[in-house]
């Protein structure tokens, strides 16, 4: 048994450690996600959300999507969570328990949650069901591999997907201007 385990870990592929790491991260993410909606303190909810979003970044790393992972850390941890905390602390962030954070929409929430889970699972399994990630490409020369992957990503964005990319930029700009217009009613 032990020998089998050792031989399992000694293989050149990255698959087994990656699966174990994914399980650990996933457990932490699920617990944190549940705590986001059940905790009775707004700031704690934001901090639990930080754990969830950080876990997403770690999962990107496991899938060897280095650039995506760093973007996840920079944008979601470094900017969005900080803005959440900033906004919450500027307006209303009492220490200790708050009793008015819950509402009576739990059944609807559960239904919507399950529907989204089903839809996303269906879409993912339908699209990538039988695909397998090639972990044998992982040979230790991370710099070269990672750089090539980042290059491939940027090449794809700026050639094949240039128009969707530009459309998203304009959409985000419109959302930004819209937010300013709504916020400034003078």
């Amino acid at each position: 048994m032990t020998a089998q385990l050792i031989s399992l870990f000694a293989t050149e592929t990255f698959e087994v450690p990656a699966n174990i790491a994914f399980s650990i991260i996933a457990i932490f993410m699920v617990i944190a996600a549940i705590r986001v909606v059940t905790t009775d303190n707004v700031v704690h909810a934001a901090l639990w959300l930080m754990v969830v979003l950080g876990g997403v970044g770690l999962n990107f790393l496991l899938l060897q999507a280095e650039f995506l992972a760093m973007t996840q850390f920079l944008i979601y941890l470094g900017a969005i969570i900080v803005l959440f905390l900033f906004g919450v602390m500027l307006t209303r962030a009492p220490l200790g328990r708050s009793d008015n954070l819950d509402n009576k929409q739990r059944p609807i929430g559960i239904v919507v949650g399950l529907l989204v889970l089903g839809l996303v699972s269906y879409a993912v399994i339908k699209t990538f069901g039988s695909d397998k990630l090639d972990f044998s490409a992982y040979d230790g020369s991370q710099a070269v591999a990672g750089n090539n992957r980042t290059q491939a990503l940027s090449d794809a964005i700026f050639s094949q997907y240039l128009i969707p990319f530009e459309v998203i930029s304009v959409l985000l700009l419109a959302a930004l201007i819209g937010a300013i217009v709504i916020a400034r009613r003078d």
Partner: protein, 344 residues
């Protein structure tokens, strides 16, 4: 399996040694910087001697201070949120130390040579803001909360020029990897003359200045020290921290200074490399760490020089400097660099 010091080590052994050596190097440099600049340099600028009692010329003063902090009582204020209050210094500290993972100190002397090098550094350094905000909130003290909010507003504002200033260098090199950036500078040439390589401080001087200003603000050093403005907020988000938790904030502050200085010297001053063929590749294995340490310590000196020379900005002046001056100039720098890159 890679060869370190002519010995075949497993991956975990190698990682352990690298992390250990990295920690020692960072803490040594941080201690040296605190002694040289915070104790002695500022004393010289203010016409006083500074610490003289502990060790020759007070050189053991820092150890005495650390000993003092370690034996102090670990106080939680009565209304504080104990868990968040305790975790906040850890978040700031890990953000600081994770920065150093990709900074190269020699041809092989890097903990992990990530392909996204500089992007990783910026991502990790931005996480410290969460720690500072939650420290300010969990202290249950309005001065702390105001300090935390000021810090967050400032760090968000100066994150942008920091990132945008780096883009110019990345465009010139065509890679995010820090080793590639170092090699591009040491192998480069100025109009065909390769005497000193091509340090990007020459071609990206605007980017270098913006980077240094943004670093000054990210470190919340004067003139950008409103988050801990002692005459208004007592000590900002650090007010309620004592003992070892304050020590962690203190180390993180100066280790971040060393980290950003090392990043700046890698991006703009040629990193661990000496240009062209001044030293053979095998020499650089031991000379490289010395070269980058010297450059980093020099840049931290600039940070402290500015810190002790300029008075504090007003809050609105600080935000205007970032949004109305630094970001437009950084964007212009990117456009010009891009056009020149395509033209040549």
């Amino acid at each position: 399996m890679t060869t370190v010091l002519a010995a075949d080590w497993a991956y975990w052994q190698e990682t352990l040694v690298k992390v250990g050596l990295g920690l020692v190097a960072v803490l040594l440099l941080t201690g040296a910087v605190v002694y040289m600049y915070l104790f002695k340099f500022v004393s010289f600028m203010q016409s006083r001697l500074g610490p003289m009692e502990a060790g020759p010329y007070g050189s053991m003063q820092l150890l005495a201070e650390v000993g003092k902090w370690l034996q102090k009582e670990d106080i939680f204020t009565e209304n504080s949120d104990r868990i968040v209050f305790g975790l906040a210094p850890a978040i700031v500290m890990s953000s600081t130390f994770l920065m150093f993972v990709v900074i190269p100190a020699g041809p092989n002397a890097v903990i992990s040579d990530l392909g996204t090098g500089i992007y990783y550094v910026l991502a990790m350094s931005s996480i410290a803001t969460i720690g500072i905000l939650s420290a300010g909130w969990a202290s249950a003290n309005k001065y702390s909360l105001m300090g935390g909010l000021r810090a967050a507003g400032q760090l968000i504002a100066y994150e942008l020029p920091l990132v945008l200033a780096v883009v110019g260098v990345v465009i010139q090199v065509g890679s995010l990897n820090l080793q590639d950036i170092v090699h591009a500078q040491s192998d480069g040439a100025i109009f065909g003359w390769s005497g000193i390589g091509n340090p990007f401080i020459l071609t990206q001087f605007v980017g270098f200045l913006i980077f240094l200003i943004a670093v000054q603000a990210e470190l919340t050093q004067s003139p950008f020290d409103m988050p801990i403005a002692e005459s208004e907020l007592v000590g900002g988000y650090q007010v309620e921290y004592t003992g070892i938790r304050f020590l962690v904030f203190f180390i993180a502050e100066f280790a971040t200074a060393v980290g950003f200085a090392a990043v700046a010297s890698t991006l703009f001053l040629g990193g661990w490399a000496l240009p062209a063929d001044w030293a053979s590749a095998s020499t650089m294995h031991w000379l490289g760490p010395i070269v980058i340490s010297a450059k980093a310590v020099l840049l931290v000196g600039v940070v402290f020089w500015v810190r002790f020379s300029l008075p504090r900005f007003r809050e609105d002046q600080l935000q205007q400097l970032a949004w109305k001056f630094l970001i437009p100039v950084a964007l212009l720098n990117i456009v010009v660099t891009g056009i020149l890159k395509v033209a040549f």
